[in-house]
């Protein structure tokens, strides 16, 4: 009788066809679009509005690091058919798994709070109280939970992602940005010792590359039952997703730089006017309707995040501890899964209620910073797993990928330390 692993190989030969590649286009693309959640849009906006084109180089670098981290995540999923948390548990034991899950849950809790803050900020722009935003966010989570299927959310992601990118692209073009300066800023870093600058740098990286994104891509690939023969298609998918997410980010930065920064608006992220100010990036496109357009975009972006982050978090925790996961179980059958979800929603909602409406933008930025600070702890596990020959088989990271992976991780550590140094130690 044949060994089970071998039974996968006959398809490998004839699977690299266009249809097969199109078939796996998905996880990376969805993950990429989901990166531009409320925190993402806000962070890119603030970066452009406060520092003009100066931070574009960060986008280029985070795009490269995003591609390689997502590629490793996808490869882990392809090779093992398991999620990240489960693999960490099997390879490093229960204590390290608990450590990683806790790290990830803290980061994700931050992201969920940011999505709630996004909803809150969006409704305040539209003239409502921010608690209505928290209510809407909570309802969205419940609806997503009861609907269960993730399929239709994917399409919403793609549509919203495309709509947002088109809006910002058009707005950027209409604002007559300095394209030459933008292009040169993309490759030539303009450094600064201002703490606020490094806050923006770290937040930008933190919103692009996230702990939940790492868990998400791997679980998604594994749950789609993709296998080693889908490697080529999956790499294309991840590359495409990383490119798109950062292209959108770049246009947001350029639009904000041209329409807000260039007209000398001072954005203070702790002021009630911060959201209105960054919404101004859409004025060239929508005129007086810019605020409404931005509010709608921000609301939709929050929903993107609410569609993935809470589920991914609960999923990862339950996977590692062997608890029943998934929305098809009843409340009593999967208490941990639902318990975590309820905790996320209640915590995020209460948190937003205690935050003054003026600080919502600051809350979103802080969540991205927390993400970036905690990310290396997750990536260390990812990189070590990907170098395990026994686990990965032919998909093991070679010297090149491993070097890049560790360099990316090291870069994140350096960035985080720089932030700590500039903010708290006052260098």
């Amino acid at each position: 009788m044949k060994a089970p692993a071998l039974s996968l190989t006959p398809r490998a030969v004839n699977r690299v066809r266009i249809a097969a590649i199109l078939g796996v286009l998905g996880p990376g693309l969805v993950s990429g679009f989901a990166d531009n959640d409320a925190g993402g849009i806000t962070t890119y906006s603030v970066a452009g509005a406060k520092f003009g084109y100066d931070l574009l180089w960060v986008l280029l670098i985070s795009q490269i690091v995003l591609f390689f981290t997502q590629e490793v995540g996808a490869r882990l999923g392809l090779a093992t058919g398991q999620g990240l948390a489960g693999l960490v548990r099997e390879r490093f034991g229960v204590r390290w798994a608990t450590f990683m899950i806790s790290t990830m849950l803290i980061a994700n809790l931050g992201s969920i709070v940011a999505e709630f803050a996004g909803c809150g900020a969006a409704v305040t722009l539209l003239g409502f109280q921010s608690w209505i935003g928290a209510l809407i966010a909570a309802v969205v989570v419940v609806v997503l939970l009861t609907r269960g299927s993730f399929k239709w959310v994917q399409y919403i992601f793609v549509v919203v992602g495309i709509a947002v990118s088109i809006a910002y692209f058009v707005s950027a073009v209409l604002a007559h940005p300095n394209w030459g300066l933008a292009a040169s800023s993309l490759v030539i870093p303009r450094l600064s010792t201002l703490p606020a600058y490094w806050v923006a740098v770290v937040a930008t990286v933190g919103t692009t590359i996230t702990p939940w994104g790492q868990a998400f891509i791997q679980s998604y690939v594994a749950d789609k039952r993709l296998g080693p023969e889908d490697l080529v298609g999956e790499r294309l998918d991840v590359g495409f997703g990383a490119l798109l997410t950062n292209l959108i980010g770049a246009f947001i930065v350029v639009a904000c730089a041209a329409a807000v920064f260039a007209v000398h608006v001072q954005v203070d992220t702790n002021s009630p006017h911060a959201v209105e100010q960054i919404a101004g990036a859409l004025t060239p496109l929508a005129g007086a309707g810019a605020t409404v357009l931005f509010a709608i975009g921000l609301l939709a972006a929050s929903f993107l995040g609410l569609g993935v982050v809470p589920l991914t978090s609960a999923y990862a925790a339950c996977e590692a501890f062997g608890w029943e996961t998934g929305v098809d179980w009843r409340m009593r059958e999967a208490p941990a899964f639902y318990g975590l979800m309820i905790f996320f929603v209640v915590f995020a909602a209460l948190f937003i209620l205690t935050v003054p409406a003026g600080s919502l933008v600051q809350v979103m930025l802080t969540a991205q910073i927390v993400n970036c600070l905690l990310l290396p702890f997750v990536l260390v596990f990812v990189m070590r797993l990907s170098a395990d020959k026994k686990l990965m088989g032919p998909l093991v990271s070679g010297r090149f990928l491993l070097t890049i992976g560790w360099l990316g991780t090291a870069l994140l550590v350096v960035l985080s330390l720089t932030l700590v140094a500039t903010s708290f130690l006052g260098f």
Partner: protein, 424 residues
């Protein structure tokens, strides 16, 4: 009683009480109901040595004591049926056959059985998790103060089926004996929770009939995934064992390449049946009918008909109805099993058959079929073509499938959509 986690990392002492290393792992021989411990792995000076269990005089939470002072490491070799508990089982996923789900191993419980140490149970409960995290004691104190219990949950080793990947380090085919005895629907639930390679392993260990039954219970996308991952010859064998109507639906969902290849490898008769069924629309009586029914000529006696039933029963999907056809295969009557049994053995069946049988056309909609089945309280309804030829039957279980709204059908724990599989 000893938990593996209590022994790991504890000192190993020789005959004179001199520490020579720490316990790194235990080895058991699987196959028996409760696998006996056959060896110990000792970590000493940064390397691992294997020792026969015979050289160990005691093992408890305080560590291990050896009966010798000189270590002989040359003789021991891990045999094919042996697994390392910590490396191969701890923190891994296993199938809880009794609970019909995939769970994770928190700890392993060892007990003295007939004088020697055996692996008896897998700890999958919160207490095991707390013990591994080293906070069981404080937690219990806290829980006690709050008048709460710390739940314990064990699975008897007999009810455990290690999933394939779990013990990939060992060249061993898992027999999956326990799995094979499950109801196909439960087996399908479990298989759906496994990763792709584990799934392939479980299917490989099942016989064709059990595999066919289990696959028949799965969702269409999963069926396609599994079949396409199988070697085409095996896929063909399994399809032959499935009900033709299910097989036809499945084959229709396969990629063009696999379909041609697998149909080519099936027995000619079965392949033709499947192909014929595939020509009907999926949502029509023809699409959901099966061709495995019992039809007899009107000239037989009751006794002869019962004999015929005995011959045909193994393949027919239902024998509660016997259909009566003329020489041109047109449906002329129907008998229930009850009619046959109460009739005198020598009576010709045309005398007592019901000669105005309810039937549906092959192009009737699924809803129509369901309506007929419900209205006449049938266990199966015959399907005829435009000329009245009997083509197949729709059994009540296939008919009521259409009544279930999609989400109410078996949906398994899964976060992400499976659109990819269907689009591929």
């Amino acid at each position: 009683m000893l938990y593996l986690s209590q022994a790991i990392g504890r000192p190993v002492r020789d005959l004179h009480g001199e520490p020579i290393g720490t316990v790194a792992d235990l080895i058991v021989a699987i196959g028996d109901r409760y696998p006996p411990v056959t060896g110990i792995v000792v970590k000493t000076n940064g390397r691992e040595i294997f020792l026969q269990w015979g050289s160990v005089t005691s093992l408890d939470a305080g560590g291990a004591t050896l009966g010798t002072s000189a270590i002989d490491i040359s003789k021991f070799q891990q045999r094919p049926n042996e697994i390392r508990l910590k490396q191969d089982l701890m923190d891994r996923q296993i199938v809880d056959i009794d609970g019909r789900k995939v769970v994770r191993v928190n700890d392993l419980r060892l007990d003295e059985v007939e004088g020697s140490l055996h692996l008896v149970a897998v700890d999958v409960g919160p207490s095991g998790l707390l013990r591994r995290l080293g906070i069981e004691g404080p937690w219990r104190t806290l829980a006690h103060g709050l008048h709460r219990d710390v739940p314990e949950r064990y699975i008897d080793w007999e009810d455990v089926d290690p999933v394939e990947r779990t013990i990939a380090s060992v060249k061993l085919r898992v027999p999956h004996k326990g799995l094979a005895e499950l109801h196909p629907a439960d087996l399908a639930t479990i298989i759906d929770q496994l990763s792709r390679s584990d799934r392939a392993g479980v299917i490989a260990a099942l016989d064709d009939e059990a595999a066919a039954d289990a696959i028949g219970e799965m969702e269409p996308e999963t069926q396609v995934d599994i079949l396409e991952d199988l070697e085409p010859g095996r896929a063909a064998d399994i399809l032959e064992e499935m009900d033709p109507d299910e097989a036809a639906d499945l084959v229709a969902d396969l990629s063009d390449e696999s379909r041609v290849e697998i149909l080519g490898l099936m027995e000619k008769e079965e392949a033709e049946e499947v192909q014929e069924l595939m020509t009907y629309g999926e949502e029509t009586a023809g699409g959901i009918m099966t061709t495995e029914f019992v039809a007899v000529p009107a000239t037989l006696t009751a006794a002869q008909t019962i004999d015929r039933l005995r011959e045909l029963e193994p393949t027919a999907e239902t024998i509660y109805y016997v259909y009566v056809t003329d020489v041109e295969n047109c449906l002329v009557g129907v008998l229930s099993l009850r009619d046959l049994i109460v009739a005198k053995p020598n009576t010709v069946i045309s005398k007592f058959m019901y000669d105005e049988p309810v039937a549906v056309r092959t192009d009737a909609s699924q809803n129509e079929v369901t309506g007929v089945v419900a209205r006449y309280n049938l266990l199966a309804v015959p399907v005829v073509d435009a000329d009245g030829h009997l083509e197949g039957i729709v059994t009540v279980d296939d008919a009521i499938d259409t009544l279930l709204p999609q989400p109410a059908k078996r949906r398994l724990p899964r976060l992400f959509g499976r659109s990819g599989a269907a689009e591929r």
